[in-house]
């Protein structure tokens, strides 16, 4: 006799057993990454602004940086530069997430989008874009630059497919497609099943925007997020050491340095004396600073570009040791004699320097400003320390006006263009206003200008090497202090594939140990 209740019970039990058996095999892997700020923009004419992390999961570039920040194939399989013309062979068999093939036509259309933006990032001569074959294109640089392919490793140069509404439906070739976007809250992307390359480990990636540093750390400890993408020194100091939070780090990439005002007017003209700059460089105890800041993970710096980057090498700069006696002797030689109040004087003028700690904000380098103040006081230099937590105020009030002697900056050459940082910070022709004060002079202008127009990579790198040495050693426009890795924090059991280039930390390839 048929017993419906018993049959239903058995069926339910069977379903439950089936679910529990196959459940783990089908379990979706998801990862929530906390980032500080929502950088997503929906403006069609500024679409390059839309491609920063985390939106970078949706679109990808023609080339990506390799471990030495050299371009390596991605959507571009190979490329050649000769006679001021780039010839690019596209990877075959790649489709955008909507199924449109990437070929010469779609690649040219994607590259022409850059002309819509007012920030003509790649400086490609749009009229020069030519289709040479189904998967081959050519183009020229507006400026005759040999660095266009290098610049295409920047996430902002990602190639978009055709879309009626790029803001709500961005079409790319990457492992993920946009699932949802809630402004200032979160972006969720899900696996693109038609991805041309190796499938990522994570099925669903959610980026939560949490502005407060403490809140990001507490959310990680509370299990509400899996990874913190932007880590400050304070977070590293307050991070629990019981293994509940795991630190991941790249090689050192970011520099902490004092940029010297070499072109200021009185009273901000003291560090124009090379001996004073040298004395300051020898007065810094980098080992102690390295042990205090960033949980002891920074290293004393010999420059502002790491030696591994672009194969620059470590031997083209000498660096400075810690020798307060030598620093004092240099100041004596420069005519700065010790006053009765412990501050040096020359011709009735005190050796008092204004040091502005601001970029990107002072909280990222605390307590370094105070440590430097003490170290400089020990050799008779009075420091008027100004700490600004806003890069806008820093720029307009102190940098653009040249109203400081020393500018502490914590930044990096976050660009595969080897000339990028040095050109912008140390040439008199910089478009970044105030950095004309930190430009050593025509010789460095010339080196970097030549580097930007050089036609072979070897030539570019050699000129960058010479300019770097001039800036951090011979002219001492920048007094190097520390080199610091990129950091992420995660819960235990995750391996985050770190990159020195923060935009290239591939959260989709996070591996789960358990």
């Amino acid at each position: 006799m048929f017993q419906p209740r018993k049959a239903a019970t058995i069926a339910a039990a069977a379903c439950l057993a089936l679910t529990t058996t196959i459940g783990p095999a089908l379990a979706e892997t998801s990862l929530t990454v906390a980032v500080k700020r929502d950088r997503y923009s929906v403006d069609e004419t500024k679409f390059t602004f839309t491609t920063r992390r985390p939106a970078a999961q949706i679109v990808e570039t023609g080339v990506k940086p390799d471990e030495n920040f050299l371009p390596s194939p991605l959507l571009f399989e190979s490329w050649d530069y000769s006679d001021k013309t780039y010839t690019v062979t596209l990877r075959e068999g790649v489709t955008f997430s909507d199924g449109t093939a990437i070929n010469a036509d779609t690649a040219i259309a994607a590259m022409k989008l850059y002309d819509q933006g007012k920030s003509d990032f790649l400086q490609i001569d749009q009229d020069s874009l030519r289709k040479l074959g189904e998967y081959q294109i050519s183009f020229a640089s507006e400026k005759g630059s040999a660095l266009v392919i290098e610049n295409m490793t920047h996430r902002a140069t990602s190639l978009f497919g055709p879309s009626d509404n790029r803001a709500e439906n961005p079409i790319g070739t990457v492992p993920y497609v946009l699932e949802s976007y809630e402004p200032k809250q979160q972006i969720t992307v899900v696996r693109n099943e038609n991805y041309w390359g190796e499938a990522p480990n994570v099925d669903r990636l959610t980026f939560r925007f949490i502005g407060d540093d403490n809140a990001r750390l507490l959310a990680l400890q509370n299990g509400e997020i899996d990874v913190i993408g932007e880590v400050t020194p304070q977070m590293m100091l307050s991070m629990p050491k019981d293994g509940s939070v795991v630190l991941h780090e790249s090689r050192p990439i970011r520099y902490v340095a004092l940029l010297a005002n070499l072109n200021g007017t009185a009273p901000f003209d003291i560090v124009q004396d090379y001996q004073v700059r040298q004395a300051l460089a020898w007065a810094i105890d980098r080992e102690t600073i390295a042990s205090v800041l960033f949980d002891g993970r920074g290293v004393p710096a010999k420059g502002i570009l790491p030696g591994w980057m672009f194969n620059l090498g470590d031997d083209h700069t000498d660096g400075f040791g810690y020798d307060p006696a030598k620093a004092g002797a240099m100041l004596d030689e420069a005519g700065w004699t010790m006053g009765s109040d412990g501050i040096r004087e020359k011709d009735g003028r005190k050796l008092s320097l204004r040091l502005v700690a601001a970029y990107p904000n002072v909280s990222t380098v605390k307590p370094l400003p105070e440590m430097l103040e003490q170290m400089f006081a020990a050799i008779g230099v009075d420091i008027d320390l100004i700490e600004v937590d806003d890069s806008g105020v820093y720029g307009s009030t102190y940098l653009d006006t040249g109203e400081a002697d020393l500018y502490m900056e914590f930044a990096s050459n976050n660009n595969t263009d080897p000339t990028y940082l040095l050109y912008n910070l140390f040439t008199s022709t910089t478009a970044w206003g105030g950095y004309k004060f930190t430009a050593p002079g025509p010789h460095v202008d010339q080196m970097l200008s030549q580097a930007r127009s050089a036609q072979t990579r070897e030539e570019v790198i050699e000129l960058v090497r010479q300019a770097h040495r001039a800036i951090v050693q011979d002219d001492l426009a920048a007094i190097p202090i520390l080199m610091v890795p990129n950091f992420t924090l995660s819960r235990p059991g995750l391996q985050v594939p770190m990159s020195e280039y923060a935009d290239w930390i591939d959260f989709g390839r996070v591996t789960f140990e358990n």
């Binding site: 929502d38 069609e44 390059t48 007012k118 990032f121 809630e182 949490i210 806003d390 720029g395 990028y420």
Partner: protein, 312 residues
């Protein structure tokens, strides 16, 4: 009453114009160039003509006064332009985030009113020692900064008890902790107002008469004292609501609440001029509307004022 409202609206025009000028001037004269900040953040090597084109696009290439007049003519029509950072219209940005902030400030105000009435009446009705203790407690609550209160509550309710999430998804349950953070301090401050008003009223002749007539404390409180103090309390609530909107900035940031606070913090750091200007104008408008509503309630609650306005 209509005449009263019309007069109040008319007198608001110069105030709002002044407010719009201050809002525009604060932002326009503040240090920081949004174009250069964005370009540096993006890692772009710009040519001077690129910078000039971007400045022209944002209208930053014009003198201050023409910029203000142009902006004002659009602002009157609620056209605040496009966000430099996100590319959305500023009105869309406000529309996305305003409801969350109003929900937070509104629920915090409700919480603050409840806390204030409880603390104030308890302090009045308690004996000297308990009353002094309660007043000391309110001083303590008022003195704790909201960010510190937030961290204390997170430690207790999120990390220790596990009753709440730190970064929710904007659901009503996620509102409890940030609203509580705001309402504790505001409630304590309002509690002192309640205490002072009730204590003052209790010494009035009409209360003595009610006591002499044998009325119980609760009917005296609800039937006699409450109608007399509701006007000043509503004014205090309106001011508190404005304060809560401002105070929400930090609390929203800590709890990841998707309100105007998050919007404005990011806009300030990126020098997103159109958003900051619109935010200041909207905050001013909300202040104006709440104080107008409070004035109307005061008039409605006070028979003498009502009669005077009606010309009796």
């Amino acid at each position: 009453m209509l005449r009263f409202i019309l007069i109040r609206l008319a007198t608001a025009i110069p105030t709002l114009l002044g407010m719009s000028f201050v809002a525009f001037a604060i932002v326009a004269l503040a240090p920081g160039d949004p174009v250069m900040m964005e370009l540096r953040a993006m890692g772009i090597v710009p040519e001077p003509e690129d910078i000039a084109a971007l400045k022209a696009q944002f209208g930053l290439d014009k003198a201050f006064l023409p910029r203000y007049l142009e902006w004002l003519s659009r602002a009157i029509r609620f056209e605040f332009g496009t966000s430099v950072a996100t590319g959305r219209s500023v009105l869309s940005e406000i529309a996305i985030h305003l409801p969350a902030t109003l929900a937070l400030a509104g629920s915090a105000l409700v919480g603050a009113v409840i806390i204030s009435l409880a603390l104030g009446t308890l302090a009045v009705t308690s004996n000297n020692v308990a009353g002094a203790g309660l007043r000391g407690f309110t001083i303590l609550l008022v003195s704790i900064p909201s960010f510190w209160m937030a961290l204390l509550l997170i430690h207790a309710f999120v990390l220790q008890l596990g009753w709440a999430r730190l970064v929710g998804d904007g659901s009503a349950w996620d509102l409890v902790l940030p609203a509580l953070t705001l309402s504790l301090g505001a409630g304590a401050a309002l509690g002192r107002v309640v205490f002072e008003r009730v204590r003052a009223e209790k010494s009035e002749d009409y209360v003595r008469l009610a006591i002499a007539k044998g009325l119980k404390p609760l009917p005296i409180m609800l039937g006699h004292i409450a109608p007399r103090i509701i006007g000043p309390l509503v004014t205090a609530w309106a001011n508190t609501f404005g304060g809560l909107l401002g105070g929400a900035v930090i609390v929203e940031s800590i709890f990841g609440w998707p309100g105007l606070g998050q919007l404005i913090l990011q806009a300030i750091s990126q020098r997103d001029f159109p958003v900051i200007q619109a935010y200041l104008v909207f905050m001013g408008l909300i202040f104006f509307v709440t104080s107008l509503l409070a004035d109307i309630v005061v008039v409605l609650a006070d028979p003498q004022l009502r009669r005077r306005l009606n010309g009796d």
